[in-house]
Amino acid sequence: MQGSAGLTAYVPLIVMFVLAGGFALFSVTAAPYIGPRRYNRAKLDTYECGIEPSPQPVVGGGRVPVAYYLTAMLFILFDIEMVFLYPFVINIDALGLFGLVEIVLFIGTVAFAYAYVWRRGGLDWT
């Protein structure tokens, strides 16, 4: 069952992808043609509550606060942990006590890193 039905099971997802993508692309493309177009320089400026907008880099809106980078790195750490837990819980009955001990050790290791990050203030948002 897994062999032949394996990949065809994903066909509906592709159909959904195409349908949703077609709808979204159509909306985005059609928007400028359906709506009115009246040129106004101020309208195309960066939105800043009515005052003259402060100067911006040409592309990309400026610098990213470094705290977000830290959050992203921590996310990777825990996401990988999560990814490892999924196969374990699927096979928990086959693995038995051995698997449980191993996974507790694994979670303990990650928990150590977690506690370290917490202690160093990596989880505090300033």
Binding site: S4, A5, A9, V11, P12, L13, V15, M16, F17, L19, A20, G21, F23, A24, L25, S27, V28, A31, P32, I34, G35, P36, R37, L44, D45, T46, Y47, P53, Q56, P57, V59, G60, G61, Y68, T71, A72, F75, D79, L85, Y86, V89, I90, I92, D93, G96, L97, G99, L100, I103, V104, I107, A111, F112, Y114, A115, Y116, W118, R119, L123, W125
Partner: protein
């Protein structure tokens, strides 16, 4: 307990769906797509009506019966608005970001089982677009990809508010995705499968909300954080960020973001129903009636359970004020994640011990309790002392001078207080001590 019609064996729905001809697949996809669009329009109307009632006003009641056509009118109006692209925007990314945000929202719903086996035009099939061996992971993957749309839209707008909003949104969604994923793990453990149809059929003897209450609570909280809804709607906090990541968007592009948000809400409510409320199965008193879990009727149960979650979304928005960003991140990282981890260890331990020793006896429960306690204590011991932290923060030099008048010889610290301990500076302590009687902390 419930007389369930078809064999509830794992992989049954997968085999059933593998026989679907392509026209049936297309029909199902179109129906689900239309259902999501209609649900979005209906949800916007419902939200405005319910919040209106909560605020002692009628809400939209002019267009159509009970104002039902209000959101349709709003959508059409949006289409006839001018499509503005700011001069500083990155053309290609600004254009594609709403599309990136919309597609995964729809795709994720494809794995949700809406009902059991039915016959459509003489063809036996399950009321589900796709049942994958990795079903529930598709939902997580889609919600991750959806973040790209938000991040790219904020980045491409070339404007400070959208950039901040999109970064907040990214940090928020990935933080709560951890809690979301961890809460699903316990469900997968009991169902023994990642396929959504199997998870539903595993719940015919009892919904997982009773078996795994902690998972359910974590899931319900992170669900709200994941969809950027009040009280966690920080990416579009209008008092701080104007409109958040879609400040610069207008017309149909804005409508797509709106659509994606509501479709995500509907999808996550459906996922919560599937994982914890028994999917399409009838609730308890009704489930005693034979035949109530077969045919087309389960769709009604499914939609009504989904609306319980959708109503809670609206209720939360009508009740709670927006959280502060640091409190919000603290909740995600310092409460939800450790609670989920300890809970997973506890559930896994219980499961393994029950398999090893048959039925659970008192000593086994004690052993489990001991293991959980040890894990919790080890984690708690490694956690920092909150009092020490507060002390640290409170050891700023005391300010001399009475309230309205600041001290005139106020010395500006040369570096942040935390680093000052490590790097000892030469002349600074003397001047501080002489100047205002401030004491450098040792």
């Amino acid at each position: 307990m419930n007389p369930l019609p078809p064999p509830g064996t794992p992989g049954y729905t997968q085999a059933l769906l593998a026989d679907d001809p392509i026209w049936l697949t297309i029909v199902k996809v179109v129906v689900v797509f239309a259902l999501l669009l209609v649900m979005t329009l209906f949800m916007i109307w419902l939200e405005r009506r319910v919040v209106g009632r909560m605020q002692q006003r009628p809400g939209p009641n002019w267009n159509g019966p009970f104002g039902l056509l209000q959101s349709l009118a709003d959508g059409l109006k949006l289409a006839f608005k001018e499509d503005i692209r700011p001069v500083l925007a990155d053309k290609a990314v600004f254009f594609i970001a709403p599309v990136i945000s919309t597609i995964p929202a729809f795709v994720a719903f494809a794995v949700i089982p809406l009902g059991p086996e039915v016959s459509i035009f003489g063809h036996h099939t399950a009321l589900q677009v796709a049942d994958l061996p990795v079903g529930i992971l598709v939902v997580l993957a889609c919600s991750s990809v959806g973040v790209y749309g938000i991040v790219l839209s904020g980045w491409a707008s070339g404007s400070p508010y959208p950039l901040l909003g999109s970064l907040r949104s990214a940090a928020q969604v990935i933080s709560y995705e951890l809690a979301l994923g961890l809460s699903i793990i316990a469900v997968v453990l009991y169902a023994g499968s990642l396929s959504t149809a199997d998870i539903v059929s595993a719940q015919q003897n009892g919904w997982y909300i009773w078996l795994l209450p902690v998972s359910f609570i974590v899931f319900a909280i992170s669900m709200v954080g994941e969809t950027n809804r009040a009280p966690f709607d920080l990416p579009e906090a209008e008092s701080e960020l104007v409109g958040g990541f879609h400040t610069e968007y207008s017309s149909l592009k804005f409508a797509l973001f709106f659509l994606a948000e509501y479709v995500n809400m509907v999808t996550l409510s459906a996922v919560a129903t599937t994982l914890f409320l028994g999917g399409w199965m009838a609730p308890w008193p009704l489930s005693l009636i034979p035949g109530v879990n077969s045919g087309w009727l389960p769709v009604v149960w499914f939609i009504s359970k989904m609306f319980v979650f959708l109503f809670v979304y609206i209720w939360l928005r009508g009740t709670l004020p927006r959280q502060r960003y640091d409190q919000f991140m603290r909740l995600g990282w310092k409460i939800l994640i450790p609670v989920s981890l300890v809970w997973i260890v506890a559930v896994a331990t219980l499961r393994v011990l029950r398999n090893q020793y048959g039925t659970i006896s008192a000593p086994v429960v004690l052993m489990v309790g001991a293991v959980v306690l040890v894990v919790a204590i080890v984690v708690a011991l490694m956690l920092p002392d909150r009092a020490a932290d507060d002390d640290d923060a409170g050891s700023e030099p005391p300010v001399v001078g009475t309230y309205p008048v600041p001290p005139l010889d106020l010395t500006v610290p040369t570096s942040p207080p935390k680093r000052r301990r490590a790097v000892s500076r030469g002349p600074a302590p003397e001047t501080a001590a002489v100047g205002s009687g401030q004491k450098e902390d040792a």
